[in-house]
């Protein structure tokens, strides 16, 4: 009982403080309702969102150790294809970018580029605690700790590693968000590109993204 108190070196902030800090931390792209408000467009949007949520092309881009969970999710045992989730080979075709586990700076650079090459509406599912708060790499010299500082994230799946069931749960959440029109932050990313760029350039020292390739 007492031991826990002993290790409390940094005093915990209050809940309200944490909430405020969270908003300050990554205020840009958090589920802004993007459903077209025109009544005439609502049916079209509903149908399109229905198609989108049932047809998720997954960019099979294994960034970290979590990539090993993806084959299990997609193949016979858990069969994600019945939900319309299937692999896509290149970012041009893909809808969902899965960040499977820790991201070293070197990988982050590639991930950003891949994300920018994907077409709207695009979704990011971050996978494992490493993407949330650094996980076991919280003090690594080469691994980022919070993914949503660099690219907008739609769904986080916690766990180290999350099992395929958790992954499917995450996709169910993503589908829910898509149907409500709350997923897909590509537009927001483009709008707040300066903020994201500043964060990215803080980490990626040698910034060699040629301007013409990007937004």
């Amino acid at each position: 009982m007492n031991e826990k108190k002993d290790i409390q070196i940094i005093t915990r902030p209050t809940k309200a403080e944490i909430e405020q800090a969270k908003i300050n931390f990554s205020p840009r792209c958090t589920s802004a309702g993007r459903v077209n408000d025109k009544e005439t467009q609502k049916t079209v949007q509903f149908i399109l969102n229905f198609a989108r949520k049932h047809s998720l092309f997954l960019l099979a881009y294994g960034t970290g150790c979590g990539a090993i969970e993806i084959p299990a999710t997609l193949t016979s045992r858990y069969d994600a294809e019945r939900l319309g989730i299937r692999g896509a080979a290149t970012p041009r075709q893909a809808d969902v970018l899965m960040i499977t586990g820790y991201l070293s700076v070197k990988t982050l650079k590639r991930v950003i580029r891949v994300y920018e090459q994907m077409q709207d509406p695009k979704y990011v599912v971050a996978f494992g605690s490493c993407t949330i708060n650094g996980g076991m790499y919280f003090d690594s010299y080469n691994t980022i700790k919070a993914l949503d500082r660099y690219i907008p994230v739609d769904v986080y799946i916690a766990g180290c590693m999350p099992r395929p069931e958790a992954v499917l749960k995450g996709f169910a959440k993503l589908q829910e968000l898509i149907q409500n029109g709350n997923a897909g932050n590509g537009e927001c990313y483009r709008k707040n590109l300066d903020w994201y760029r500043a964060n990215q350039q803080k980490v990626i020292k040698n910034w060699n993204f040629p301007d013409e390739y990007n937004w």
């Binding site: 881009y61 650079k109 580029r113 090459q117 040629p210």
Partner: protein, 609 residues
């Protein structure tokens, strides 16, 4: 007399062009262009059937503007005019312009002469002038390697010429005339009489048409001649070989064409297949086009060999189309060479942005070459297949031809991909579009490919006239409906309009849908697994493009006609070296032979006499 005046115009123009080079280098090209323009205008005004006869050195020379010759003359003159127009800018700033244009005009005049000759002596004379003037152009760029290629060309041409000369000597010996009409009526080109006459003549023509195994001169010469002339070389001069064969076939068809048809057909088929295979593996646009040219002539020879209504029409149709698209493609290669410095696929790519009109020409010409409907090449291919299937029933030859033309897709794509598509590397940044003097001829030629695809009758009508002039089967050709011997057919207008309408609809859909959200990016913005291509990275896939195909083919790639000819040459040299041991050139040896001979005579005189 009018025909003589035509040649006088060309000769005078040639002389003016040659000497105007010393006065003003800029005017040379225009002078040549005006000369041929005047020549064409004058030629068009000559009434059909005009005859000019002359008695020279014991031979009756007879020239005539006939529909058959006219058909080929227009190929020559049209392509010549366009190439000369192109040459004005293409040759700008190059050395020895007077030499180039003079030889160019002489060869055009000589080719026209071949088409109007109605006797074999003037045919032969014009033929030799043509060979000689084109040889001058082949060695125009005098750098290392050109001479050997040029010598190869002149060697094979002289072999052909000697064969023709021999045939002419025998013709005069047996028939006492040189007039073609008389000879046809006498059946002089029939194999049953004197087989060597048509065989030798065919050999002479086959060399010029680059038929296997006499094609070895073609790749080297086609690539090393200035491209403005190569388009004439490949587009028009090789047709002279076809014209000559047509003259022979015209004499054949009424008598016997069984086994010669077989040999010619398979020679054409094998030429097409093997040359296509060679074209597939080339890494330079000019080499690729040279081999492709040989392959296309293979189709024409095969079509010609059928001797039937559709086959002959296919040959004539393909002759026009080949002049149009291959002429255009050589001009394209020249434009790229002029603007970008090289036509090597590994060094230059992504020119579609820099040279869009050139790309358009190349695209149209390549589609026509590949034989995809609704462009002109398709009609030619269709006629070849249908004549082989329905008229002569050469089912296995059809497979060979089909293999060649399917494999032609490979090099057709390679040509476009290598020069115009692919990564836009920064070494081509300062390349810009060719001048309009060069573009207009190319666009005119691609227009021919487009028009003939929908209205093949544009070619059928004059071709049918040409065939009936030679008393060959030529009936029943319509403007836009093709029929085979089993009465099945293709309606080219329906085909063309269907494809165009569907194309417009789909293109409109894909362009208008989400137009605002569609963005164009550069070729460096590609999926590279997140890796960022830097300006210096070479992402071009050019070397060994069809390597899997080459591996699948395997053995034929190790065959080489060149090597066989070299072996023949080496063995001949060895044989002559051996002879040289007998004929040593030493007087004492000859005296010794005489003495030995006398001794033998003395010793055995009773047995011998």
């Amino acid at each position: 007399m009018e025909l003589m005046i035509f040649f006088l115009i060309i000769t005078a123009g040639t002389l003016i062009t040659f000497f105007i080079d010393d006065i003003s280098r800029k005017l040379t090209g225009y002078a040549a262009f005006l000369t041929i323009l005047t020549g064409i205008v004058y030629y068009a005004s000559i009434p059909m059937g005009t005859v000019w006869q002359m008695h020279l050195l014991g031979f009756d020379l007879k020239w005539m503007r006939s529909p058959a010759g006219d058909f080929f003359a227009w190929i020559v003159l049209g392509l010549g005019l366009l190439s000369l127009m192109y040459a004005i800018k293409y040759m700008e700033g190059k050395a020895r312009l007077g030499y180039f244009y003079a030889a160019f005009l002489v060869s055009l005049g000589a080719m026209t002469g071949v088409t109007i000759s109605r006797d074999i002596v003037s045919l032969f004379i014009f033929w030799e002038i043509m060979t000689w003037s084109s040889f001058l152009l082949a060695i125009y760029k005098a750098y290392y390697g050109v001479e050997t290629k040029g010598i190869k060309y002149i060697l094979f041409s002289s072999m052909g010429a000697y064969a023709m000369l021999t045939a002419i000597v025998f013709i005069v010996h047996y028939y006492h005339t040189t007039d073609l009409n008389t000879l046809w009526q006498a059946g002089a080109f029939g194999f049953s009489r004197h087989w060597f006459i048509p065989a030798f003549m065919l050999f002479g023509f086959a060399v010029k048409a680059a038929v296997m195994p006499f094609h070895v001169w073609a790749p080297g010469v086609y690539t090393r001649t200035p491209m403005a002339y190569t388009s004439v070389f490949s587009g028009a001069m090789s047709k002279m070989g076809i014209f000559g064969m047509l003259l022979i076939v015209a004499g054949l068809s009424r008598l016997d064409i069984g086994w010669i048809r077989f040999i010619l057909g398979w020679a054409g088929g094998i030429t097409a297949a093997l040359a296509t295979l060679q074209a597939v593996r080339q890494n330079d646009a000019k080499d690729l086009l040279a081999y492709s040219s040989i392959a296309q002539l293979g189709y024409i020879v095969t079509a010609l060999s059928t001797g039937t209504r559709m086959g002959l029409m296919a040959a004539l149709y393909l002759a026009v189309l080949h002049a149009a698209f291959k002429g255009a493609l050589f001009l394209v290669a020249g434009a790229v060479e002029k603007q970008a410095g090289t036509t090597d696929f590994r060094e230059v790519s992504g020119l579609i942005v820099r040279m869009p009109w050139t790309f358009f020409t190349a695209l149209i010409s390549v589609i026509a070459l590949a034989g995809v409907p609704p462009l002109g090449g398709f009609v030619g291919k269709w006629l070849v297949y249908e004549s082989l299937i329905t008229e002569t029933h050469s089912y296995f030859l059809v497979i060979v031809i089909f293999f060649a033309s399917t494999a032609a897709f490979l090099y057709a794509y390679r040509f476009l991909f290598g020069l115009f598509l692919g990564q836009q590397e920064h070494n081509t940044e300062d390349v810009h579009e060719a001048s309009w003097w060069m573009l207009v001829p190319m666009l005119v030629l691609s227009l021919v490919s487009i028009l003939t695809g929908v209205f093949p009758g544009l070619v059928f009508k004059p071709a049918a006239k040409a065939l009936s002039d030679l008393h060959l089967p030529s009936d029943g050709w319509q403007m836009s409906i093709l029929h085979n011997a089993w009465n099945n057919g293709v309606d080219t207008i329906t085909v063309g309009s269907t494809i165009v309408i569907l194309f417009l609809l789909t293109a409109a859909f894909i362009t208008l849908k989400g137009r605002k959200n569609t963005r164009r990016t550069g070729t460096k913005d590609i999926s590279t697994s997140g890796e960022i291509p830097q300006p210096d990275d070479n992402l071009n896939f050019q070397s060994g493009f069809f390597q899997p195909f080459e591996r699948a083919i395997g053995k034929p790639y190790r065959w080489s006609m060149d090597r066989i000819w070299t072996d023949i040459g080496t063995s001949l040299a060895a044989f002559f070296r051996f002879l040289r041991k007998i004929y040593t050139g030493n007087a004492q040896t000859y005296v010794f032979y005489v003495i030995v001979f006398l001794i033998i005579l003395l010793l055995f005189r009773k047995q011998i006499f």
